[in-house]
């Protein structure tokens, strides 16, 4: 078991009830497992948000990017055990602009 910090963007705060939280989960964990855990915890609305897709530069991509300790974990690597004890996981809505 390990302790991780999860940070939620504005859009997900309304569903989870907080801006961030500490969670105790089995580590090392994969992004996929963590998301499944959160979906089970926060229900249908959370699941719908995580399933959102956006079109970016002509390609379909998940709307929420997952950052582990600042590094983005793309969908193709979401089953790798990359989340260790003490990690900070941030969910980031896709955006482009300046």
């Amino acid at each position: 078991m390990g302790r991780i910090r999860i940070v939620y963007p504005h859009g997900l705060q309304a569903i989870t009830g907080h801006a961030d939280e500490t969670a105790e989960i089995q580590t090392p964990s994969s992004v996929r497992d963590l998301i499944m855990y959160l979906k089970a915890r926060y229900g249908k609305r959370f699941e719908e948000e995580m399933n959102l897709r956006s079109l970016e530069m002509g390609e379909t991509t998940p709307f929420y990017l997952v950052l582990v300790d600042g590094c983005r974990i793309p969908e193709g690597r979401d089953s790798e055990a990359l989340i260790g004890d003490g990690a900070e996981v941030a969910l980031l809505p896709l955006f482009s602009g300046g």
Partner: protein
């Protein structure tokens, strides 16, 4: 449909209309593209940016004012007094479309009026009107006075404020009160011509092949906007929603780029803006995204806005985390005609100089220069606009101000080619750093806007830019190809007059853009022609700068980004390894690795042979 270039000589008072030659449209489209060509042809290395020979070129995009939605944008170009190279600013609102309703695609202004004047165009009529009593007034006051003088509200007005009149190199050109073509000192160029305003009224229509096609297109876009959550975010919060996101990546500049991550971003987030200050949503001409707001943060009338760049420039960059003070500072910039990025950068720079003991409060007219002092920020903005006291130093931007303070200060000026760097720290976004270094108008994120660096999949990165690392914001490989690819795609938005927010999905690529043109113009361009036009424009802009003496050595970044890693946040521990990225970029562009000059081969390939031969550099 009338599509003309209007040339006005403020020295002689004469003007001339010319139909835009078809071959120029095919080669450069409009907006930023055709502006660059007109500027290249009409100026020379000897042209003084603040002298009468500089051209101020106002170009509506090729699709601006047509039934294509989100196409309100226009570009103002000139030789930049800030960088010494090609300069431009881009804005939305309603000015560009009105130009097209008057049958005008581009306005080329040369010379200098003897006394303060404004230009008034009404379809085919062009008047140069004296305006002594309007010179010296704020943007808002001048707007009202001009409407009164003309007896109608049904005009669109471009204005400079006191900042432009005083030739501040961070002076903007404003339209619709709060919208700004802000970068590169275009306001100073306008002011140097004694030109307070450009007013246009048009009563013609723009062409539509078949209105049923337009309605289908609008429905198609409606469906895309409804389905894509990104558009929901932008429709609701505008770019204020970016604050939280860039902070989460650890790239939001704080205290002149000393840090880039805030533990508590709430006080300056979109939630705070929407909850406390936004009163209603606002939009540019014929747009379905409608990302703007009308907000109120104090007494008196409110403003349209606010933008992420402005919030950070006047906020965290100056150590200011009080959103109310930030929004008030934004209002001051709008009313005095200042580039929020350039002005905020100059103030943040000064504050770091103070922090490090390079200047004292006494040097700054007794102002308290500690980080985050909102009152000081407001006072400094006014001083900058009127060139009073320390404002006179800051009015030319942080790079020049630094040369007056000393070599230690020069390290603290966060600029490229004199243009202030924008609100994304390149130590956490390497391709953005490359983009700033090579941009034709100095530090700019919009030339490339390489968002793919964090949004693309590794598979897409490998396929398009040769390596999965191109989608890793900390990596160096693949970024040169990525930036070149992005620049050639993005330039089409600017030449067509489309907003970047619509061209991120449905209208990204030449194939999709080519489809739009015949719907609203009696003209067809193939995707190949569009693609080539994009690359041609980027190369011509480079050639303009080469003519001015720019080379590889000018494609640089401040030392801070090359040598000092961030100590906190999700982007800590990394610096920018610029040279390999530039190598890869030049290679991708077929530009000489040593000099950064486009090769003769490339220029001839893009049908820029004539332009190339006008430079002595290529006469061997």
């Amino acid at each position: 449909m009338k599509h003309r270039i209007l040339t006005v000589d403020l020295s002689s008072g004469k003007h001339d209309f010319q139909d835009v030659p078809l071959n120029l449209t095919k080669r450069y489209l409009g907006g930023r593209g055709l502006n660059a060509k007109l500027l290249f042809d009409g100026t020379s290395r000897k042209t003084d940016p603040l002298g009468p020979d500089n051209l101020l070129v106002i170009g509506a995009g090729l699709l601006t004012g047509t039934a294509i939605p989100s196409s309100s944008r226009f570009t103002i170009s000139a030789k930049s007094p800030l960088t010494g190279g090609l300069g431009d600013g881009n804005s939305g609102g309603f000015f560009g479309p009105e130009m097209r309703f008057a049958g005008i695609g581009h306005i080329v202004i040369q010379g200098k009026a003897e006394k303060p004047v404004y230009l008034f165009m009404h379809d085919d009529s062009v008047e140069i009107r004296e305006c002594d009593e309007i010179w010296g007034t704020s943007v808002r006051e001048a707007d009202g006075m001009i409407r009164k003088a003309l007896g109608t509200d049904d005009v669109q007005i471009l204005l400079i404020g006191p900042a432009g009149e005083k030739s501040s190199l961070v002076a903007s050109v404003m339209n619709n009160l709060s919208r700004a073509a802000a970068r590169g000192g275009m306001g100073a160029v306008m002011g140097s011509k004694n030109l307070k305003a450009v007013v246009v009224k048009g009563s013609r229509g723009t062409y539509v092949r078949d209105w049923g096609e337009i309605l289908s297109l609008l429905k198609e876009i409606q469906a895309v906007l409804q389905a894509d959550p990104w558009f929901h975010m932008f429709s609701n919060a505008g770019t204020t929603g970016l604050t939280e996101n860039y902070n989460r990546l650890g790239v939001m500049p704080i205290r002149n780029f000393q840090e880039a991550f805030l533990e508590e971003v709430g006080p300056i987030s979109s939630t705070e803006f929407l909850g406390r200050y936004a009163r209603k949503r606002k939009s540019c001409f014929h747009c379905m995204i409608q990302c703007s707001h009308y907000y109120s943060a104090g007494e008196g009338d409110g403003e349209e806005g606010a933008e992420y760049e402005s919030i950070v420039a006047l906020g965290p960059r100056c150590g200011n985390f009080d959103l109310k003070a930030i929004l008030q500072a934004n209002a001051i910039c709008n009313r005095l005609g200042l580039d929020t990025i350039g002005a905020g950068d100059a103030i943040g720079f000064l504050m770091e100089c103070f922090q490090r003991g390079l200047i004292t409060s006494r040097d700054a007219d007794g102002l308290d220069l500690s980080w985050g002092n909102g009152e000081t920020i407001a006072k400094l903005l006014r001083k900058i606009a009127f060139r009073e006291g320390i404002g006179d130093l800051l009015a030319d931007g942080s790079a020049r101000a630094a040369t007056q303070i000393g070599p230690e200060a020069e390290r603290l000026a966060m600029h490229v080619k004199g243009q202030a760097i924008i609100a994304s720290d390149p130590r956490g976004l390497k391709a953005w750093g490359l983009g700033y270094a090579v941009s034709s108008r100095g530090a700019c994120h919009l030339r490339a806007l390489p968002t793919a660096e964090y949004s693309a999949t590794p598979e897409m990165a490998k396929r398009l830019w040769g390596t999965e690392e191109a989608a890793d914001r900390f990596a160096t490989a693949g970024k040169g190809r990525l930036v070149k690819w992005c620049e050639d795609v993005r330039v089409l938005s600017d030449a067509l007059g489309l907003c970047r927010f619509i061209t991120r999905t449905t209208f990204v690529f030449p194939e999709q853009l080519a489809r739009l043109i015949p719907l609203v113009m009696p003209l067809e361009l193939t995707p190949g022609e569009l693609s080539e036009a994009g690359e041609r424009i980027n190369n011509l802009e480079r050639l303009f700068n080469v003519r001015e003496g720019f080379s590889r050595k000018n494609d640089s970044l401040p030392e801070r980004f090359l040598k000092e890693p961030l100590s906190k946040g999700p982007s800590k521990g990394s610096v920018v390894d610029l040279e390999p990225m530039i190598d890869e970029y030049y290679e991708a562009r077929s530009w000489d690795l040593q000099t950064g000059h486009p090769t003769a081969e490339k220029l001839i390939d893009l049908d820029l042979g004539e332009e190339m031969r006008s430079l002595s550099l290529y006469k061997t």
